[in-house]
């Protein structure tokens, strides 16, 4: 798929969400800003949520913990959920022009990345305002985000292909993502779980990237690099499987659509 076509899909995806509204694409900036303000002010100032002092003594510790995990999760979840229905949603285009199915959902990855980048820009500004130190390790965040999105892309592509044949998959994926969210320590601390639940949660690959963001953004310490390497290999493995599935099923998908 030609890069300009992917960029055009991305642009449309971002602008069509707010088409007809007075503020238009400005909403893409307002929403993340409102979300961050709600998460940080409500949890830190209104509810007074704090992490245990042994982890961080900052007034905003819980808010930083929450937002640093939630923003990438929203991009991850959004990519998978929307890629699951992308072939059905774009069937009118697939029928008219020859679009390589393997690269079609790329525009969703880019679109979610733009939203995440805007959100992270606001979040970084918030960190600067509250005088929270920003570690040089923050340079690693884009690398971890790309790996995370490769993982999401692989899963989304796989589910997208399968959902053409099994329409219930869209709902199943929605439920699965909800369960997955609560099995990932984003709103709670992993240490609070009972030992049996810790074991199950530790099998969850999402805790690798969420934990890495917590380590870097909240604690300013190195993430678990070994786990990140395994995640990289796993994510690319999933993407390879998805790509092969697309190649094998492309004709059937076009016929079914």
């Amino acid at each position: 798929m030609k890069p300009h076509l992917i960029l055009e899909f991305t642009r449309r995806d971002l602008t069509e969400r707010y088409s007809g509204s007075v503020l238009g694409v400005l909403w893409a900036f307002i929403w993340p800003l409102v979300n961050i303000l709600i998460f940080t002010l409500v949890f830190s100032e209104v509810l007074g949520s704090r992490l245990p002092p042994v982890i961080s003594s900052s007034t905003y510790s819980y808010a930083i913990y929450l937002v640093s995990g939630l923003l990438p999760w929203m991009a991850f979840q959004g990519t998978i959920a929307r890629a699951t229905t992308v072939f059905l949603d774009k069937s009118h285009i697939i029928k008219k022009i020859h679009v390589p199915l393997g690269s079609l959902p790329l525009f969703l990855v880019l679109s979610e990345t733009v939203t995440y980048t805007i959100s992270m820009a606001f979040f970084s500004a918030f960190l600067l305002i509250i005088n929270a130190p920003i570690s040089p390790l923050a340079c690693l965040v884009p690398f971890i985000f790309v790996v995370q999105q490769i993982f999401a892309y692989g899963l989304g592509l796989l589910f997208g292909i399968l959902s053409v044949f099994y329409r219930d998959l869209k709902e199943i994926v929605g439920v699965m993502l909800q369960i997955w969210f609560w099995f990932t320590p984003i709103v709670y601390l992993q240490d609070l779980l009972p030992a049996s639940a810790k074991w199950i949660v530790s099998l969850n690959p999402a805790i690798i990237f969420v934990g890495a963001y917590h380590d870097i953004i909240l604690l300013g310490k190195s993430p678990d690099y070994n786990a990140l390497i395994w995640l990289t290999i796993f994510a690319h493995g999933i993407l390879t499987v998805a790509y092969i599935a697309v190649r094998k099923l492309e004709m059937e998908v076009r016929d079914t659509l």
Binding site: P52, V54, S135
Partner: protein, 210 residues
């Protein structure tokens, strides 16, 4: 060891694909697979390089290294100074003490350079159960060397000597290894499933003047 596995997987994954590309000549439809492999190698490489060159023991960002003043008593508790020096293996702080949770608990205390050996003194209470668990045996390790072997059967102060040669990077890293750590749940006493050994009340490190 994990380096070896990662290396082997990367090599075994990339060799057949590269060989296949070379033999068959690169065709346009194979480009995505090649990109996936290259991307995998690139990102794994980035993280492997970081692991190699970025110290995992850096202090939390923005925080000056909190050098411990020799002789100061580090008290446990929610606001206790001891919290600043705890590594892995501890439970949450309780009003007057902190329990270990598991077979090992680590203490990392940055100090300014010293010329003599140090003495570590720990005021603690063991997790004991009459007729079932008489005492807690604890090995105290510093820099991989056994520096103390305690049998803690009652509340008290227990100490050991820390050789200056074992103080690396201006940090006293003490590892408490609990031979008899067990959870109250396992003993049928309560629902508490933490593997307890010692409840530490305070810790003090002093210089041994020659």
């Amino acid at each position: 060891m994990i380096d070896l596995y990662v290396g082997l997987i990367l090599i075994t994954a990339s060799i057949p694909i590269v060989a296949w590309v070379l033999v068959r000549k690169l065709r346009w439809e194979h480009l995505p697979l090649l990109l996936i492999v290259l991307s995998c190698v690139f990102f794994s490489g980035v993280f492997a390089l970081c692991r190699q060159f970025v110290s995992p023991n850096k202090p939390a960002m923005g925080e000056q290294t909190r050098y411990y003043t020799l002789g100061e008593e580090l008290l446990a508790g929610p606001d206790g100074a001891l919290n600043n020096y705890l590594g892995e293996g501890w439970s949450g702080p309780e009003p007057t003490h902190i329990w270990n949770d598991g077979p090992k608990a680590i203490l990392k205390v940055p100090i300014k350079p010293v010329d003599s050996d140090l003495k570590l003194a720990v005021r603690c209470t063991p997790f004991v159960v009459p007729d079932r668990l008489a005492a807690q045996r604890v090995n105290v390790m510093v820099g991989g060397q056994l520096v103390g072997r305690w049998t803690v059967d009652r509340e008290g102060e227990y100490d050991c000597l820390i050789p200056r040669s074992e103080i690396k990077d201006d940090t006293v890293q003490v590892s408490f290894e609990y031979m008899d750590a067990v959870s109250p749940k396992a003993l049928g006493i309560s629902e508490d499933d933490r593997r307890l050994g010692l409840a530490v009340h305070s810790i003090r490190i002093t210089e041994i003047t020659p």
